[in-house]
């Protein structure tokens, strides 16, 4: 039995892998062995065969950002002819449409706008809550740090105020790779690993559901990928506050960083590995926006149990030139065709409706 097989056997028994074992496994196991093990673990955690998704829309209230990450094609500098900030009315119109289509959440994220402090978010969120019954899944750790700073508030006070005005849960964006050597190369101005962790743990201790992401395929090594996951796993041990892990691939189009994207096989390996290694995560999401419909469907047999969201609107990946679109019907078809039961969920992964 090879080293990788031994490690897989251990993981399949439900024993947590060390970081070193993770690196060994990630580097040496072949695609289908990882897939088989991940599929088995997914089956054990989700025996009912349900694959969930959320109906939502990404609303990017502004693309003005002082961080200007090198991997990002979405941001604009202040004063750029394409720079924008949405009016409240525009945001309401988008939400109205989302509600009409059965949406239960909006993902509100934007750049780190130098002119926006907490009063903007307080007004926006309470305005939304006054008008609509919809979950506000918003503001990644980098934005929350930025708001705290621009408002002269502590992190905890910022989170509490945001919650009082309607923030329900926090997406795990901006995690990229939680290794500062990598961050220094892809997002030098963005908050580091420790700050990302600080915001997430603070939010989780206040009871916010949050998710965790990883953007890979840029400049990181295999060791970085495993370390990223090890750090998430350690954090998850503290509050259990991550609802899901969502890996996606760096999309080089129109970015300063450039280069290639991870291939399909690399995506499936990372996905399957995450299911094996992240022993305390219940939900793993497929990323159809970066991988396309067919690969996302295959992902359901490589560890994923969630199809992400319908994303009635998506701007950040689209800015790189990738234009994958799926309708609700498409998503339901793909899930059923793979032999699973499609189900609409809410932000906390409670099932709302089976198809």
């Amino acid at each position: 039995m090879g080293a990788a097989e031994k490690i897989l056997k251990k993981a399949e028994k439900g024993i947590r892998l060390t970081t070193e074992e993770g690196v060994e496994l990630f580097k040496s196991a072949d695609l289908l062995s990882l897939g088989r093990a991940a599929d088995g673990i997914r089956r054990r955690l989700h025996p009912s065969g349900v694959v969930s998704f959320v109906i939502d829309r990404n609303i990017n209230y502004t693309n003005i950002c002082v961080n200007q990450c090198r991997f990002c094609a979405f941001y604009r500098k202040e004063g750029d002819p394409e720079a924008y900030i949405l009016s409240d009315e525009e945001i309401y119109a988008k939400i109205r449409e989302t509600v009409k289509l059965g949406g239960t959440q909006i993902l509100i994220q934007g750049g780190l706008h130098p002119g926006l402090d907490i009063t903007y978010y307080e007004r926006l969120f309470s305005g939304i809550k006054k008008r609509f019954t919809i979950g506000i899944h918003g503001l990644s750790p980098a934005e929350i740090k930025h708001i705290a700073k621009s408002s002269g508030l502590s992190l905890n006070d910022t989170l509490i105020k945001l919650r009082e005005h309607g923030l329900d849960s926090i997406p795990g964006g901006g995690a990229e790779i939680l290794v500062d050597a990598v961050r220094g190369r892809v997002s030098p101005k963005k908050i580091g690993y420790k700050e990302w962790r600080e915001v997430m743990l603070a939010a989780q201790s206040l009871g916010f559901p949050t998710s965790a992401t990883m953007m890979f395929g840029s400049v990181e090594t295999s060791e970085d990928i495993v370390l990223h996951m090890a750090r998430l796993r350690d954090m998850q041990d503290i509050h259990g506050g991550f609802t899901a892990f969502i890996p996606w691939t760096y999309q080089p189009g129109n970015t300063e960083l450039g280069g290639e994207t991870a291939t399909g096989v690399e995506y499936l390996r990372v996905l399957a590995f995450s299911r094996i290694f992240l022993s305390n995560f219940i939900n793993i999401q497929a990323s159809w926006v970066t991988q396309g419909a067919q690969m996302a469907q295959l992902s359901l047999r490589f560890g994923a149990n969630d199809f992400g969201s319908t994303m009635l609107e998506e701007n950040v990946v689209a800015a790189t030139g990738i234009k994958n679109r799926l309708s609700l019907e498409d998503i339901i078809f793909l899930i059923k065709d793979a032999g699973f039961t499609p189900a609409q969920r809410d932000t906390k992964y409670s099932i709302l409706k089976r198809f």
Binding site: L31, L32, G264, V265, G292, A293, Q294, M295, R301, L334
Partner: protein, 357 residues
């Protein structure tokens, strides 16, 4: 399915039965299936994965057949209809000089494009861009040319071969079985005719490929029936260079409600084809129809060919295929390497032109 036993039997020259092939299609164990197909593919081709630098030329989309699943064809005079002149195609072809080893030429059934038209095209292509293989005209087109010229298939093929035709693409096979074919493309020649034309070509020394269009109205049994007929003909002639399963692109066609192509089904179909078609040297994952990510994944499930750095391709893209218009050599090489395989640039006949070891 007992995969260990199957592996033993297939490695020692045993053949997959039709029932077993259907069972594999129905199997939930895509990992054992993919791994076995990968093992068999590596037995045949080591870790080599082929690609070709080619240019697709679609002479025209005017077609009297108008198959219901096709988003490419038009009636004469209809909006979007086009027909290139020989000169237009030569001008296009010349731009690829020195960059490719094959022209892939398929088009509609246009009464104005007959034997003389193609003979002239091939002869002038050979003169204008020498050394590039001409892979052209599916069995369906050959049948049509034979009809409008009043000549026998064999004579048509001989004349085309003498004008420069090197090999034939395997399109138009769709699904052979009549009760599916009659609903899918009643206008098209029957499966038996397609096989007869291929056999005639093989007997004249013209190598061809073979395809199967799947994911529309057919059952797994229909697919296996299709594979069975191909394997039987290959036993007889050995004239098929490769098998190419083509996933049906439901967008923009009349045949069934629009929905995405099933990625899992593509993966399985590649693997079962590899296992059943033991007398085919090569199985192709045609990235234009599957996207390059899934095609790459299929390289771990029995495929050993990615087709090409296709320059200009209209048929799949008009059907709504989301893939890029072309891949560069660097991109294809990188995709193959990252699947853990060895990239090989091949020509039409799978002669290795360059190996990236």
């Amino acid at each position: 399915m007992e995969f260990k036993e199957l592996k033993k039997r297939l490695s020692s020259g045993g053949r997959l039965t039709e029932n077993e092939a259907v069972e594999l299609f129905n199997s939930d164990d895509i990992f054992s299936l993919g791994a076995l197909a990968d093992y068999i593919a590596e037995k045949k081709n080591k870790k080599r994965v082929n690609f070709i630098k080619n240019m697709h030329i679609n002479p025209g989309n005017i077609c009297i057949n108008r198959c219901r699943f096709c988003a490419f064809s038009r009636n004469k005079g209809e909006k979007g209809a086009y027909a290139f002149s020989v000169k237009e195609m030569l001008d296009k072809a010349k731009t690829a000089k020195g960059k490719i080893s094959e022209f892939h030429i398929v088009g509609g059934l246009n009464p104005e494009m007959g034997l003389d038209f193609y003979r002239e095209l091939f002869m002038r292509l050979k003169k204008a861009v020498p050394g590039v293989n001409i892979k052209a005209l599916t069995a369906v087109e050959i049948d049509y040319i034979s009809k409008i010229s009043g000549m026998r298939i064999k004579n048509v093929l001989e004349l085309l071969r003498d004008a420069g035709l090197d090999s034939m693409p395997g399109g138009g096979a769709e699904i052979f079985r009549g009760r599916v074919r009659n609903r899918l493309c009643p206008e098209k020649i029957p499966g038996s005719r397609w096989l007869h034309i291929m056999e005639t070509a093989h007997n004249l020394g013209i190598k061809t490929t073979a395809t199967m269009l799947f994911g529309h109205l057919e059952s797994y049994r229909d697919r296996v029936d299709h594979l069975r007929r191909l394997r039987a003909l290959q036993d007889k002639t050995g004239g098929f260079l490769a098998f190419i399963p083509l996933p049906f692109q439901p967008k923009n066609s009349e045949i069934r409600a629009s929905h995405p192509v099933s990625g899992l089904d593509i993966f399985k179909t590649i693997a079962v084809s590899r296992l059943y078609l033991d007398n085919f040297d090569h199985i192709k994952a045609y990235w234009i129809m599957t996207g390059e990510k899934l095609a790459q994944t299929c390289l771990r499930a029995g495929a050993d060919d990615l087709d090409g750095t296709v320059i200009e391709e209209k048929i799949s893209h008009m059907a709504g295929a989301d893939s890029k218009e072309y891949l560069t050599e660097g991109e294809i090489v990188s995709i193959i390497r990252k699947a853990g395989k060895i990239p090989v640039e091949r020509d039409t006949f799978y002669k290795r032109l360059k190996v990236w070891s």
